[in-house]
Amino acid sequence: MSLTIIPKQELNNFIGSVLRHYRVAGPVETNGHYVFDMISDPAELKLDYPTTILPPKKYLLPPSETLFHYDLSGNNRVQPDQRAQPTVIFGVHTCDLHAIQLLDVVFSSGHADPSYLNRRSHALIVSIECLAPCDEHSFCKSMGTLTAEEGYDLHFTDLGEAYAVDIGTEAGDNLLAENADASPASPEDIKKLSAVLSEKWPKFSYRLDFDLSDLPSLLSLSMKSPLWSELAKRCLSCAACTNVCPTCFCFDVRDEIELDLKHGQRVRIWDSCQLDMFATVAGGHNFRQSRALRLRHRFMRKGKYILEAHGHLGCVGCGRCARACVVDITPVNVFNELYHQQES
């Protein structure tokens, strides 16, 4: 849609106005790290953050989420959980934006997931263009997520004195019109935006040693690679990688009973294919008993299975799993090593 300009000194007014109508989540600093959190004051936002520990996925698929409440004392009366609150997620990087687009496909295809779609339909996403790599772990350029053309309601690019704001949807257009004193971009603004975007590109490096379009077939050829057992010797199956991943969406379903023993709820909580019970069935058979098989499953899912099932890659190159891994197992190294094994 169209391009608009907000002067930087106007930003706090915009967010302050949005806060009167919505919950606003965004990147904030805490103990030397950055996390997405609900803000109450626009000054809390750190839009030039490098990356966050957890992705904004948590607002659409919370770590723990009540599916319904029930009452055990009466007739097992069941009540669905209350509806989601309108939320603006501010300052989403484009890697995370691509991840949300995958989640949208996953949760709206086949049996559409009412819980996810309820939260999603109440969320507006304001993304921001990254102008420099966040750290040595990210590889967004290799995964094609260094920028985004869709998936946002509004998309911000820092032009120095002002933000260029791309309007992605009608909802984004309304959010801007109702809360900000924005002006249409002038030809000079567009020229400046173009310069900023051209300047950022060389600052990011390609980190995969092969073309991304070869990743699924590389993984197909790597089912029997010895690398999986080698990595399994140091993998701890701790599930840190899947916990911080913006595209991991697997969950467990559990019942929780209140201490009054009369009320309870069914919840879904994030689960991980790296944990040994994940693929175990009632009789005790585990279809991915070894760490090597679980590790392989995760990388296959990221670069092949999810693509085949849902049409989007399961890895967006955010680097969070590499940062979180205590034994330094990283997707860039794994994919490159598989590639060089095939080459040799």
Binding site: L67, F68, Y70, L72, N75, N76, V78, P80, H98, V106, S108, S109, G110, H111, A112, D113, P114, S115, L117, M143, G144, T145, L212, S213, P216, M223, F249, C250, F251, D252, V253, D255, I257, G264, R266, R268, D271, C273, F278, A279, T280, V281, A282, G283, H285, F287, R288, L293, H297, M300, R301, K304, Y305, I306, L307, E308, A309, H310, G311, L313
Partner: protein, 289 residues
């Protein structure tokens, strides 16, 4: 992202259902203890609704306060207008809670889910059923549907194996099937007891005694993963084609709707594309068996 897209063709059409995770309040109308570990629960949905399942499909059974577990439907659609049967082994939290339920107690039901047996494709064929252990529970649904439409099918051969005589399921039906002259039933147990006069040995020992016309035979086998490898060798050895061998893959489906990931076999969700697959479909899938 610039990569070629291959949507999996068997994933169902989109539909939105606000009640997707909410079980229907169902009533247990009858409980029958089959073996020390297995009970059959006859279950009724509210307002006389029919479950509307196909043989091979499963439901998610809820015991509120304990949890939910996927259980395959054991009764034939041809015999379950207003009630259906679940044969449940007491093995985990939910199934243990289920075993402590009494007639008229309420449980929750979601489903039916998944892809069942392609019964239409079986018409006119000789059918070789090979259930092992609890595998008879889902296969009984198909077998009874076939028996209710007996004229539409060729030979019906059932090779059933259990670990010992006390673990044989649905003994009264086995007796009926034994007495019918349009069913060839062979039963074996791994280890007999003092009263056992039948065949002894694992299920694969039954195959050498039967002769079939492989081109017109469809084989359907349901059992534990370890059994499949050996039964498949027998079936392929009889000349049955990979596309005419069907099996049901057990997984711990937590959602039943292709989201939670627990039933994933490579790029396939067993709860959506399965649990019934032809051997041809899963042959290339690592971790399927």
């Amino acid at each position: 992202m610039v990569v070629t897209v291959n949507y999996h063709p068997t994933v169902g059409l989109p539909r939105i259902d606000d009640q997707l995770f909410i079980p229907q309040p169902a009533r247990i109308v009858n409980i029958e203890q089959l073996t020390p570990l297995e009970k059959v629960f006859t279950v009724e949905l509210p307002n006389g609704q029919s479950l509307g399942h196909k043989p091979g499909q499963f439901v998610e059974v809820s015991v509120l306060g304990i949890g939910e577990a996927p259980i395959s439907v054991s009764s034939s659609p041809s015999r379950s207008d207003s009630a259906f049967e679940l044969c449940v082994r007491k093995v985990g939290d939910v199934t243990s809670a289920l075993h402590s339920k009494k007639t008229n107690d309420r449980i929750g039901i979601r489903g039916p889910f998944g892809r069942g047996f392609p019964v239409d494709k079986f018409r006119g064929k000789d059918l070789l059923f090979a259930p092992g252990g609890l595998g008879l529970a889902p296969l009984r649904s198909l077998i009874n549907q076939v028996l209710d439409e007996r004229a539409l099918f060729g030979r019906v051969i059932i090779l059933y194996g259990a670990r010992n005589p006390s673990e044989l399921l649905f003994k009264y039906e086995l007796k009926d099937w034994q007495e019918r002259d349009d069913i060839e039933l062979h039963v074996t147990v791994d280890r007999g007891d003092d009263h056992w006069t039948g065949h002894t040995g694992v299920i694969t020992t039954l195959f050498s005694d039967i002769s079939i016309y492989p081109r017109n035979t469809v084989a359907i086998t349901v059992g534990p993963p370890v059994m499949y490898r050996f039964v498949l060798i027998e079936l392929l050895g009889k000349g049955i084609s990979e596309g005419n061998i069907y099996l049901s893959l057990e997984r711990r489906m937590k959602c039943g709707i292709g989201k939670c990931g627990h039933c994933q076999i490579n790029n396939i969700y067993a709860c959506q594309s399965g649990p019934v697959f032809s051997y041809k479909e899963i042959k290339g899938l690592e971790e399927a068996l």
